[in-house]
């Protein structure tokens, strides 16, 4: 009965998401594309934070995926969707390499250490004009080839078409992350976060799980970067600097990281505020002031994030996670 209702609700959400761009203005459609990509980015960032470490290098990792996918498709002629996957894998591999030095640190040290590692990668992009294009980055990145599926002619320059493509990819990725979090692996991430020593005493290789979360999150971030690169057609080092990272961090924290949807909510609300509401009200040049004020007010008055507002409306199902992890949902 309940699962039937849930199915109906999901179908409703799906239809709404498919219909969404048709109710928007042209520039809002463009913003929607980037917003959807950023949803993947911020959701992957939460996966990284599940084991309790906060990184300031996540946007650079996204950039690794973008640069890698751009180079594979442009220089080696790799089919673009395949290049995107390879880009994601490259980001995951680089993250695995970085995890060695980074996971010797914790807390504040990890935060700043990840920032330093990211800056080094960015400086390398700037420094080596071959193959990274130096400060101007790479331009003329091939787009996703257009396809005609009969029901819809996908011209990927058009934001609606690209939105559908991104929506499909991002939904699938979110589903994967959801499955991971609601599995014993996800439970182990939580365990490593709350009490890593106790987890180790139970036979959990805490560092391996930290690395695992970091690598998976980096793979998804890399994919987000690739999705963005092939839409804009260009990447450059400034697109992945600390200012962008600050936005991801604030989306996650303002949204709240206790739930899967918290950071996504934060990303959507803050982006709509900043890109549509504030611009629409004519605050073109005072946006940073208002945005900064909103950040402070939100952490002061909603310390548990926007998700706590949702929590007040929806009754909390305390045991739903447990039920998922032990595989009881099939029986219910």
């Amino acid at each position: 009965m309940r699962s039937g209702l849930a199915l109906l609700a999901w179908i409703g959400v799906g239809v709404a998401l498919i219909a969404l761009p048709h109710g928007l203005s042209f520039s809002q459609q463009e913003i929607l594309v980037f917003l959807t990509i950023n949803v993947l980015l911020v959701a992957s960032y939460r996966m990284l934070t599940l084991t309790g470490e906060w990184s300031l290098g996540h946007v650079v990792i996204m950039g690794v995926g973008a640069y890698a996918s751009a180079l594979y498709s442009k220089h080696f002629g790799v089919f673009v969707p395949a290049a995107m996957l390879l880009g994601a894998m490259t980001a995951a591999l680089i993250a695995m390499g970085l995890s060695y030095p980074l996971f010797r640190m914790k807390g504040f040290y990890f935060l700043i250490g990840s920032f330093a590692a990211g800056e080094i990668i960015r400086l390398l992009w700037k420094r080596f004009r071959e193959p990274f294009g130096g400060v101007k980055g790479i331009t003329g990145i091939p787009p996703v080839p257009d396809v005609n599926l009969g029901i819809w002619d996908f011209v990927f320059f058009d934001p609606i078409s690209y939105y559908y493509f991104v929506l499909a990819v991002v939904s699938f990725c979110l589903w994967l992350m959801w499955r991971i979090e609601r599995s014993p692996v996800g439970l182990t991430f939580h365990a490593v976060h709350w009490q890593d020593k106790l987890a180790e005493a139970a036979g959990v290789n805490a560092r391996a799980y930290r690395t695992l979360a970091f690598v998976i999150a980096s793979g998804f971030a890399g994919l987000a970067g690739a999705l963005q690169a092939h839409y804009i057609g260009a990447v450059n080092p400034t697109s992945f600097d600390i200012e962008q990272m600050v936005f991801v961090l604030t989306w996650a924290i303002v949204g709240g990281t206790a739930t899967f949807y918290g950071p996504i909510l934060g990303c959507i609300v803050l982006t709509v505020l900043n890109e549509i509401v504030l611009r629409g009200l004519g605050f073109e040049q005072t946006r940073p002031l208002i945005y900064g004020l909103l950040l402070i007010l939100s952490v002061l008055f909603l310390p548990k994030g926007l998700e706590s507002l949702v929590g007040r409306v929806l009754p909390r199902r305390a045991t739903s996670r447990t039920r998922a992890i032990i595989g009881a949902e099939e029986k219910a």
Binding site: T250, L289, G292, L294, I296
Partner: protein
Amino acid sequence: MIDLIAQTGLNALYAAAYLSLVAVGLVLIFGVMGIVNFAHGELFMLGAYVVVALYAGGQVPYLAVVAIGLAFVGVVGLLMEWTMFRPLRDNPLGGLVASIGFLMILQALVSMGFGVRMAHVPPFTQDVIAFSDRVRLPVQRLIVIGAAVVLLGALWLFLKRTRFGWALRASAQDREAAALQGISINQTARIAMFIGAALAGVAGALTAPLISVNPHMGHSVIVAAFIVIIVGGVGSLEGAVIAAVAYAFIHTIVTTFWDGVIADIVGLSLMLLVLIVKPTGLFGTADRA
């Protein structure tokens, strides 16, 4: 060549001076309050703009303006503590986000008040101590070096000799234990925030005539300051000073004899190397989260 090395040494000394002032403030705030103050670079910027506002007009003597800058930015620090960091004491990530919000507000306010382009600060003095034709120390730079030594020395005496200093050090070691010993967390947080912000502000005020003052100038100092406090170990004020000196010398030498971009890469790589070898920094002790 000797001249070149001597001049490089003087250049590095100045860089070490203002960097230590910024880094020590950042360490103090983090140590006592457990908050990563991302807006610290903007406090530095604010100190410089106090000079723009008061000194560029020419009515107020420079050293008085520096003192006003110190006090004003210190008070802004108190304001931050009172409005944001105290309510967010048990929420370090919230504190981080609040400081980011504050950073945006400061940048926007300064851009509106003073324009987005660089602001003008007339020189305080153009005197130069010339050791030789090619080894010259401008008095303005000497003042920065001298002020850093005096201020950091005073801070050291304050921390070692006074009751407040003792309370501050105890809180930086272990906040709960300090509270159990009857130390007021609010009071120590206020003192730490005032001193930390004032040091950043005075560094900005002192260097304002020497660097280009613009609303986004905080960014470059905070990156260097983060590197310095990580290398020094986040619990350690002495470590911050030693690391600031080391970083300034290495960065200056690599820039002079090699390349400025390479100097950045070298600085960041050295920091990562230190972290790999000793994950708590050279002088850090506790593994703080």
